[in-house]
Assembly symmetry: C2
Homo-oligomer: 135 residues x 2
Amino acid sequence: MNIGEVAERTGLPPKTIRYYEDIGLVKPLRDSNGYRAFRESEMHKLAFLGRARTLGFSIEDCRNLLALWEDSNRASADVRAIAKDHLAQIEAKIRDLQEMRDTLSTLVRDCAGDDRPDCPILKSLGTEFGSERRS
Amino acid sequence: MNIGEVAERTGLPPKTIRYYEDIGLVKPLRDSNGYRAFRESEMHKLAFLGRARTLGFSIEDCRNLLALWEDSNRASADVRAIAKDHLAQIEAKIRDLQEMRDTLSTLVRDCAGDDRPDCPILKSLGTEFGSERRS
DNA sequence: CCTTGACCCTCCAGTGACTGGAAGCCCCAT
DNA sequence: ATGGGGCTTCCAGTCACTGGAGGGTCAAGG
């Protein structure tokens, strides 16, 4: 299977697949003409990686998850630990963004948005934020 | 004012302040010894930038907001447009993360997390996701 | 006067995960 | 043989810093 077909079947761009080879996530064989020759198993690995990435796992997490996936003697606790950790990070990020959203949406709501210069958004950015700052 | 004091008063690391000078966001004077000499106004600009960044505005957004802040003839509509745009991006990001969180938390909930290899998380990553995929 | 330590300077490289582009083979159909 | 698409490698750029090397400057204490 050439890279183009793998790209189509996994939904990953060829560039990304080459990059994943560069960093050692997959090791496709080569045809005599130098083209990468992917086996089915490699295709499945790449699809696995694509799905793990859409769940926001880092490449290093993906590497570890892939190793566990391939290890029939794994303990599900190891997988779960990675996922739980990542989940906590996602939740933290969501909270951060929600804070930004709340502040911003208030400011946007209060801004007239006309041709006058008076603007609560700039006013707020130009002075201390009203409440406490997180350390 | 030396960079250290500015750093302390704005909460921005010295490295970041130097970087902001590099990319032309501030233009401090120099003492005869080569040290940056910040005026109050520069300090305020940097504080403004720090606050805009904590709201997640990109550097380019910050550059534009700063220009509007300095322009007493601005139209608040211009500020509002930038903020609204950014708000929409934040909201999109939140939705993405919430989707990840929902999928992940289900998987984590369903995974025993013991020493056996059976694991719904890996099972899910190894096969198509259950429902539709967004284009 | 000398040393010590805290500051400050510049420049270079690395982060994460790609992405774009140039320059150049390879293969197949016309 | 020519044209177009697919494949290859390598280099550079993205974003917003951050770390570190290697060195100058300043104020205080001995």
